[in-house]
Assembly symmetry: D2
Homo-oligomer: 199 residues x 4
């Protein structure tokens, strides 16, 4: 088969900010995050796509083996997409304003309630992994926060707006197990303009 769905090779998106400019998130950690975790996901997704193409052409592939590869595709797709959104919503001054801030306040009662739920979710990762996402659910027509226990756990039919990586590779190198301090640093560096444009 020669077609986009099977042949597409994803190209890595560079870090969209000066890696030395973040406050409280070290250059060393961000570089490692991009080069190891994100790049590894891109390579894996591209490799799995090729294997799917082969497996679909091979009549001996049982459906449950095929779906083992589809599961990997779903996981790597989530990792690639969420990492790109995460990097792209960093590099700012952390100050939310304007229409998005108003809409968040309207949905959650106040902006502070939204922030307190977003932070609470980030602190509740028992297994040391996962994502916190503010998303707009197209079907429910709601702005909501979601907890994603892994890359493949996403809300259905939802545009991710603000994405926070809570895998330990996002903070252990700088903060050890002090996840709350990492969440402070994340908030201080949010690029809210990028978040607004996603809505």
């Amino acid at each position: 088969m020669s077609a986009a769905a099977f042949d597409h090779q994803h190209t890595r998106v560079p870090l969209p900010f000066d890696v030395k400019s973040l406050r409280g998130l070290s250059e060393k950690m961000m570089q490692s995050h991009w080069e190891n975790n994100y790049s590894g996901a891109v390579n894996a997704l591209n490799n799995v796509r090729g294997r799917l193409s082969q497996a679909l052409s091979d009549a001996n592939t049982p459906p449950y083996v095929y779906n083992g590869l589809k599961r990997e595709q779903l996981l790597r797709t989530g990792s690639v997409v969420l990492h790109e959104l995460y990097f792209a919503n960093l590099g700012g001054d952390g100050k939310a304003s304007g229409d998005l801030r108003s809409r968040i306040a309207a949905s959650f009662g106040t902006f502070d309630v939204w922030e307190s739920e977003f932070r609470k979710i980030g602190q509740g990762l028992g297994g040391g992994s996962g994502w916190v996402v503010l998303g707009y659910n197209h079907r429910l027509k709601l702005l909501e926060n979601y907890w994603l226990a892994d890359h493949g756990s996403n809300p259905a039919d939802t545009a991710p707006l603000l994405v926070m990586d809570m895998y330990e590779h996002a903070y252990q190198m700088d903060y050890g197990a002090a996840a709350a301090r990492y969440i402070d640093a994340f908030f201080a560096n949010i690029q809210w303009d990028a978040v607004s444009k996603r809505l």
Copy 2:
């Protein structure tokens, strides 16, 4: 807290077709599917939302207990959204045409390759549960098929276009373990106009 994200009560969407008009999918099974499985998910989502509101106000709720509820919210959100899309893409004559058919063919090489992958995924559900989704991934700019092992496993930043329920409640009553015959019936009843409008 009094705010949409916590107070929203979802209302059930009626079946968007004459339940006697489907070919090979019995009225009894579709009614049970809507009244038990879909309605149960709506009730659960509404209930969990209320519990989240209480738990966020209670300083004694540890974050990992809060996230247990957030996980339930994610699962019920997926069940509600995917069921509504599933019902709404049934009731048609199963004949794809026009722009969407062309775009699927362009993405997968041919329309038949797309259909063969979609069907193969449906036959590979080892555990008797899951969804098959043709989606448009906004980030990767690709039409792709996905296998969702449960309601909470969704592709990130993706619009679901065609949704097939492969939980056993979708077919056991009519077909027992003969999932492939259910998939035939599903394809014969696809409402492609509804699918096209989602793109």
Copy 3:
């Protein structure tokens, strides 16, 4: 590689009771359960084992593709093991007595509390799938009930004693969505002697 861990071919264990003797669980459903769901899991496990052997010998297999197969192995292993324990704890008169009954009562306060929790877990399966297990946790030295959301979700270091299948193939054919009536039938047919011997 020629070795048990890679070459083992599992042989199906026949149903350990007269399939016409169960009360409230039809011969048709139990036969379908054994022939389709259980046998499918055995075939899948044997097939995946062969693929693992090949993949380990092939230096081109990236670890994340290898682990996709390992995940399938874990899921099929769970399905095979849990199905065999489920069938083997049916075919009795449902009357618990003796030492096991006393130990359950001691662990849960009363036998009825144990039964009410076991039944409640069975009724809470939002996705239409999963298992309920009474197990003895060797590390914690506790008799506990567990909810397994899929075949691969099991308590660590625990001997499963009583196993109830809550996948929809275990009851939809006889009871539709009325899971509580299936649970009644399950309890009426428990083979408690088999359960006692597992302790």
Copy 4:
């Protein structure tokens, strides 16, 4: 309810080795692992147990909310049990011998094949989390390696013998993203006598 299954409060097991004696695994990292990740799991398990007891007594708790807590119980149980086994199989000289070595070799063809699979699984963790376990499956009567994607993913009816933590908190502080170097250090410190006694 006053009974072991609901009231049991687990007590932390101290690190069973001199934390300064390990080679290539720093005192700082091991202390953080024990004090933050393991102790956090013990606290969470004890807390969830209390909440289960309350929820079971409350007729207003819907089964799907109850099962949200049971899922947390399963996850924390896995984290507690697997961490204790992990710590207890460190502190040795890494040299396997005797009966267990022979049995591993018999099951996998050679001891080196076993080790190569165990290491390969460890390198394949796409999401930065999980466990690798050599276990004895009581039902299949096989020594096998398993990949556990999270604390709740365990092989059914299996005694864990050798347990390697691949969550990033187990190695990022010392090795960053260089998981393979951590695996070397893990192997150099295996306490094989403890592993043998588990069989």
